[in-house]
Symmetry: C2
Subunit: 404 residues, 2 copies
């Protein structure tokens, strides 16, 4: 029988009523003739509420204990869904990450999946059960309960889909697919019917929040077809798979990321090894760095700029204070008034001139470009946050992404 | 190092503040030089809230899934306590029932402990940790998560104390010990300093709610000394242990149970096997039966009365409706206006006349006795519920149990 993995996020299981609706949907999928694995997140804000309790007890809660605490959220959601399915006469059994054989490394709070041992899940499917599986969690190689990081229920779904050879991993969410741009900003944005892993990766990395890069990467690695669709409607959403790039389509979508800041280190000595020492120190604190620009040297020093997520700023400032002294730099400045506008499309590889067209649109709008970075299928520009939405609408329009 | 097991109930860990207070107390016990295992229940009303969600989804939630759901409660409480201990610089690690090797049979919702495999707990103690342990739960011989029944966190504590050879199992609660009678009814009731397992068993079975019979039985079987004490004060509470009966003390305490009903089956054929068929049918539905009285036969039939917990009544009526037809009995009546007054004391064994004195006190108060049952160390009388508190005060006074 074909195997379908269905993943429902926290909003989709946010109340008893929603769980009942999910159960109805799962029963329909089962009756359509598939073996079904359902992956669930914690209900609504449960994870945040549990975190808040922990932070009410300790400023920095012990990571092992915090993981033990947070995994209670999925346990509640999955067993309630199990109860709802069985009440409908549908055989079902729920399993924690540990029970389902999600084996991780030992990094509490951001564990990586190292292996899936799906024996118990496969046996439950063969016995005629719908398997309900807790997202976001696993068991470490040291037999400790771990969590995989925020939003990682998608990752659980994709990894299990790969391990059991599922035909598709359906990601149910509160939007009905991936759009050419954020419809709240660009009213005529169009739903994308199909997109390649590479394009989806670039879109995810540049601000489209519907899928995490990490999950898309894992789907690509294991050849798992993803189907991003609405938890509340039956229509098809967006397929993400290898053969999904359509000939003749230049640009798949545009995205805006307003959650980064630009950091500039002034008067960095222009000698070998300095850049390495800066970014090694940042990596050691797990600070994410995105675009990096180094200006031409003048009088033996240079300025270096990069972008980093706003949430990493507090840790970054501590690192840079120490570092600026070590490398004789003058100091650093942080600019959180920026946004990153990106265009993504596999067609760019064979169509030069996309970058020039994009710069032309922004110039026509009188918008200054502060940083530029490109990949074979993406162009990103850092601009003022205040100009960002206007810029997104302009490029979306220029490249004909709208539905009109 | 001596090992102490400390068990805290739901009220004692009912809020973040209470958990902080428990952590302070555990740290003091640790600093006093003991290895410590802390057993916790779910916070406050968590178990009831989770049950209510399940009942909002299905009239009869699947028992396996319900157990999975309910165990989330202790998971939350134990990890928060772990976080609080570690924040105080006290090494600690929390373990679920499954992780701690609490192996049970497969009866979801009321599983029995069949074995404790304390290897992981012992290793954690040896590594210098306070072990925080989820009460109420275990792992079945079929590798499924089970719960041990309401109030069974005490049982977890006693069983683990037995398995690791703890010196004492401290039961922290919202009262400061076991009293000669309920102080809300008998103002001069006295705290009992020490009591034997047998006496405590009789008191627990007759309405003193501070300890469950099941836990006391297990403590007796494994020779675990219990210390029932206040979660909010430091004073000694009540010790329960083998050698605790004091010479010369006739009566240890008096208890009232107003949570039972009297059931009478009319005109039961007076022939062999009838009583057996009645009580077998009740046992098959797990209906608890306490006192049983059969009146003298008249014209080939007899009336049979017994007491049963109010909560078992709905199931009981279904069984008896069917049964009354099968055995040609005329019908049955239920009287929920009764209460059971009991006197408990190991000294009764060697002091005849206690029963006569008790009946005399009740007669003097003009209170009618409807049923009587005795054990070597207990006398119980069923009386009208309306008379119960007055009767308790009178016998408490007559046997000199008060603190005056």
């Amino acid at each position: 029988m074909p195997v379908v993995v269905m993943k429902f996020g926290g909003t989709s299981v946010g109340s008893v009523e929603r769980i009942q609706a999910v159960a109805d949907r799962v029963v329909r999928a089962r009756e359509a003739g598939s073996d079904v694995i359902v992956v669930v997140s914690a209900m609504g804000d449960t994870t945040d509420e549990l975190s808040a309790m922990a932070l009410g007890i300790a400023e920095v809660p012990d990571p092992r204990e915090l993981d033990m605490l947070l995994t209670a959220g999925e346990r509640i959601a999955m067993s309630l869904l199990g109860i709802a399915l069985i009440a409908r006469g549908c055989r079902a059994a729920s399993y924690t990450g540990s029970q389902a054989g999600i084996i991780t490394d030992t990094q509490h709070g951001k564990a990586k999946i190292v292996e899936i041992r799906p024996k118990r899940v496969v046996e439950a499917l063969e016995a005629g059960n719908v398997v309900v599986l807790a997202g976001f969690q696993g068991l470490s190689t040291q037999y400790e309960i771990t969590t995989l990081g925020r939003g990682a229920s998608d990752l659980t779904a994709v990894a299990m889909a790969g391990a059991v050879g599922a035909d598709v991993c359906e990601i149910y969410t509160d939007v009905d697919g991936v759009y050419t741009a954020d419809p709240r900003i660009v009213p005529d944005a169009r739903k994308i019917a199909a997109i390649s892993y590479d394009e989806m990766l670039e879109l995810a990395a540049t601000g489209a929040k519907v899928l995490q890069s990490r999950s898309v990467e894992m789907a690509r690695r294991h050849g798992v077809a993803l189907h991003v669709r609405s938890a509340f409607e039956d229509r098809d959403g967006t397929w993400v798979r290898d053969d999904a790039t359509m000939e003749g389509v230049l640009i798949s979508g545009a995205a805006l990321d307003a959650d980064e800041a630009k950091v500039t280190i002034d008067d960095v000595p222009d000698r070998p090894g300095v850049a390495a020492s800066i970014f090694k120190a940042l990596a050691a604190e797990a600070i994410n760095v995105d675009m990096i620009v180094q200006n031409v040297s003048h009088e033996g020093t240079t300025d270096m700029s990069f972008t980093t997520p706003l949430e990493d700023l507090p840790r970054l400032e501590a690192v840079l204070d120490a570092l600026a002294r070590d490398i004789d730099a003058v100091g650093f400045s942080v600019d959180d008034g920026i946004a990153k506008l990106s265009l993504v499309g596999a067609g760019m590889k064979t169509h030069p001139g996309v970058a020039a067209d994009m710069f032309d649109v922004l110039a026509g709008e009188g918008i200054n470009i502060e940083m530029i970075s490109t990949s074979p299928i993406r162009i990103s520009c850092v601009i003022r946050k205040a100009d960002a939405e206007r810029a997104l609408r302009a490029v979306h329009d220029r490249f004909g992404l709208g539905s009109s």
